[in-house]
């Protein structure tokens, strides 16, 4: 009996180890000589972020290539993709193999900040290009900024500054955070706390939950016990969906507390349904039903991805790939260094149907307008995917962290 007990412990530990390693499926194209321009979409293909990035991001990259004409000079443009499963070790291995063996020139998307931070460092070493539209952490353009990385679409400062500020101004001045325990969640909590405090509010406490948590009931009860007016959800994708669902189930709103989803995607709202999601404030760079151009893009995109409207992450993949190709064309050289391409990308103003006019700063931050929306009530919605109404347009210069406050070493002060 005693022996079994000990044996069991050993095997249990082995199992924990195996869980990490069993997940190493890679889908990379075979190695080839430099006969094409290769775009690698490194993303979460089947996990909690697969709907907001995943296969939709791959399609978005292909659309950008198609709109660019499919060729850069004489070189055909190829899109490859792989599943990083939200694990930094798997993501780094895939990125390294892509750059060293498979001749990938540019890595795009990469939701999950912990993976993105690892990839950004690798890309800098190899002097390739990283177009980050999936991750949120401001560290990518802050203390870990890189001359080879462009951060597109959104970041935790923009979210905090949009949603956080609006909620405090509406009277939600005491906060309790439910934070996904990794780089993104921590950055979002940090940036939102700063905004809450600066706007005269108070943070009463926080509870960290693991990425992809199965059950939020006990975390929500901790939040309830704090008596804070606002429960801030510093998480994303499937975690946000499950937290909002559980809050609904446990009647959190009846106790007088409100949820603030700090990063909410249209695919999350779709999964939740308007009945549960109505009234949420959210900050986004892209909503499909904003103007003719955004609608036209969404109409082309949706049929390719199970009739889902694109998220700002997927829009970011499209826009950043398009701008990258334009810059490379302007630069002329078929095999230019990553840092030189990014420098060219900074030089050229960007223009696309999703973000409109924008520009890239020295710290790698792509700046553009952001929008604060409110989720419609079921009665207000006229049809499928008619989910948001505009609360406020946030000008580009206000939306992102001002350069003079940046801690990025590339910013000269």
């Amino acid at each position: 009996m005693k022996r079994f007990g000990v044996l069991m412990v050993v095997v249990a530990l082995a199992a924990v180890g195996c869980k990490k390693e069993e997940a190493t499926s890679a889908t990379t194209a075979p190695a080839a000589a430099k006969k094409s321009v290769k775009i690698g979409v490194l993303t979460d293909m089947s996990g909690l972020y697969a709907d907001l990035a995943g296969p939709g991001s791959v399609e978005a990259a292909k659309m950008a290539v198609e709109d660019f004409g499919g060729k850069l000079g004489d070189l055909p443009i190829e899109v490859v993709s792989a599943d990083h499963q939200n694990k930094p070790d798997i993501g780094s291995n895939l990125a390294r193999q892509w750059m060293e063996v498979d001749g990938v020139d540019v890595i795009v998307d990469v939701p999950t900040s912990s993976v993105a931070l690892a990839v950004s460092e690798l890309v800098k070493q190899k002097d390739k290009v990283f177009l980050a539209s999936g991750p949120g952490s401001t560290d990518l353009t802050g203390k870990a900024c890189s001359p080879n990385t462009v951060h597109w679409a959104y970041d935790t400062y923009a979210l905090a500054n949009g949603t956080g500020k609006a909620v405090v101004q509406a009277g939600g001045d005491t906060w309790f955070f439910l934070t996904a325990d990794y780089a993104f969640g921590q950055a979002l909590e940090r940036d939102t706390s700063a905004v809450v405090t600066a706007s005269g509010g108070k943070v009463l406490g926080t509870v960290k939950h693991p990425l992809n948590a199965p059950d939020f009931s006990s975390f929500l009860l901790q939040a309830q016990a704090s008596k804070a007016k606002i429960i801030g959800l510093a998480n994303a994708g499937g975690d946000t969906i499950n937290a909002i669902k559980a809050a609904h189930e446990f009647g959190i709103a009846k106790g007088g507390q409100k949820l603030a989803g700090l990063l909410v995607f249209i695919t999350d709202i779709h999964a939740l349904g308007l009945e549960t999601a109505q009234g949420l404030n959210l900050t986004t760079a892209y909503y499909w039903d904003r103007d003719d151009q955004t609608r036209a893009f969404a109409k082309r995109f949706a049929p390719k991805v199970k009739d889902h409207m694109p998220t700002m992450v997927q829009g970011g993949v499209y826009a950043s790939v398009l701008h990258y190709l334009k810059a490379r064309q302007a630069l002329g050289a078929a095999n230019a260094s990553g840092a030189a391409i990014v420098a060219k990308m900074r030089e050229l103003p960007s223009q696309d149907p999703i973000f409109g006019a924008g520009s890239i700063r020295i710290d790698g931050r792509h700046v553009h307008k952001m929008y604060l929306y409110e989720v419609k009530a079921p009665a207000e919605s006229k049809g499928p995917w008619d989910y948001y109404k505009l609360v406020r347009e946030i000008p580009a210069e206000e939306a992102f962290l001002p350069l003079d406050k940046s801690v990025c070493p590339l910013v000269k002060k």
Binding site: M1, K2, F4, G5, V6, L7, M8, V9, V11, A12, A15, V16, C18, K19, E22, M45, S46, G47, L48, A50, D51, Q85, V207, P214, D215, S217, S218, L221, Q222, Q224, A225, G238, N242, E249, F250, G251, K254, G255
Partner: protein, 287 residues
């Protein structure tokens, strides 16, 4: 105080799953001497069976609560008949390796077909809504989980400890040859016991489907804690596995209030302590 009560209640709900799963493990270990590492994967099978029945056959929650464990139980019978049976004469380590390998195969197969993310399963209409207990809002479905698990555990315990069938079963554990001499078909009894243990895992899986997203790794995440529960309760002790299942759920709940950071590790700390001071487990008999 309010926080303590509500966390205790959530702990009791988690404890229900621990108890059902550790009960199945304890029964299998008690009779077969097999450490069933596939238990978590079979729990996943139960949840997926319920989801598949609904998705492709339109079979709702209530029939699934019987059908899914039956189907997964049959799978268990097939596993015992074709594979596990061959390993009884060799070191128990081989049974463990076999079931561990099967767990990986089952998880891999589900993720290949359905991906890693969760499939949603609706709470049955009769159990939607919640009651206000004053200190917290308790969804009806979660109350049902606790009531049903306690009932299932009680019935199984009674069957094994207080009936003739149970007496034969326990006798076969001690001395299979002698029991066979009384005209009892011991191999069939062993097969059915494994089927029962597996079916219990599937029951837990069906119960879990409306609460946790149905996904390939759901069992692997639970099972590590459940093994700790079994070690604490005492390997092979039916009563110990039930009691320690519920108790450890409650301990986790208390830890959430007193020292939230420790709630993920408290079970393993207890396991370490039990192994040091009472290696046979709290309810186990020393070998």
């Amino acid at each position: 105080m309010q926080a303590l009560f509500s966390q205790l209640l959530v702990g009791l709900i988690n404890g229900s799953f621990y108890a059902l799963l550790s009960l199945g493990l304890a029964i299998i270990f008690g009779l077969l001497n097999v450490i069933n590492f596939a238990h978590g994967a079979l729990y996943t099978c139960g949840a997926f069976a319920a989801w598949l029945l609904l998705e492709y056959a339109g079979v709702g929650y209530w029939p699934s609560l019987v059908l899914a464990p039956l189907l997964v139980g049959l799978l268990g019978v097939a596993i015992e008949r074709t594979m596990l049976r061959r390993l009884y004469r060799v070191d128990p380590l081989y049974g463990l390796l076999l079931t561990f390998g099967m767990a990986l195969i089952i998880q891999g197969a589900f993720s290949l077909r359905f991906g890693w993310s969760g499939q949603p399963y609706q709470i049955p209409a009769a159990l939607q809504g919640a009651m206000d207990l004053g200190f917290m809002v308790l969804p009806y479905y979660r109350a049902w989980v606790v009531v049903f698990s306690v009932a299932v555990c009680a019935v199984v315990w009674f069957q094994i400890e207080r009936t003739r069938l149970g007496a034969l079963l326990r006798a076969a554990t001690e001395n299979p040859t002698l029991v066979r001499a009384f005209g009892v078909n011991v191999p069939r009894m062993i097969t059915l016991t494994y089927g029962l243990g597996v079916a219990l895992a599937a029951v837990a899986g069906v119960l879990a489907a409306p609460i946790y997203p149905v996904r390939p790794m759901m069992g692997a995440e639970q099972i590590i804690v459940v093994f700790a529960v079994v070690v604490i309760g005492g390997m092979g002790s039916i009563f110990g596995s039930i009691v320690s299942g519920f108790a450890l759920g409650l301990v986790e709940g208390v830890t959430k209030v007193v020292y939230p950071q420790g709630s993920n590790t408290v079970v393993f700390v207890l396991m370490a302590l039990v192994l040091i001071f009472r290696p046979a487990g709290l309810f186990g008999k020393a070998a």
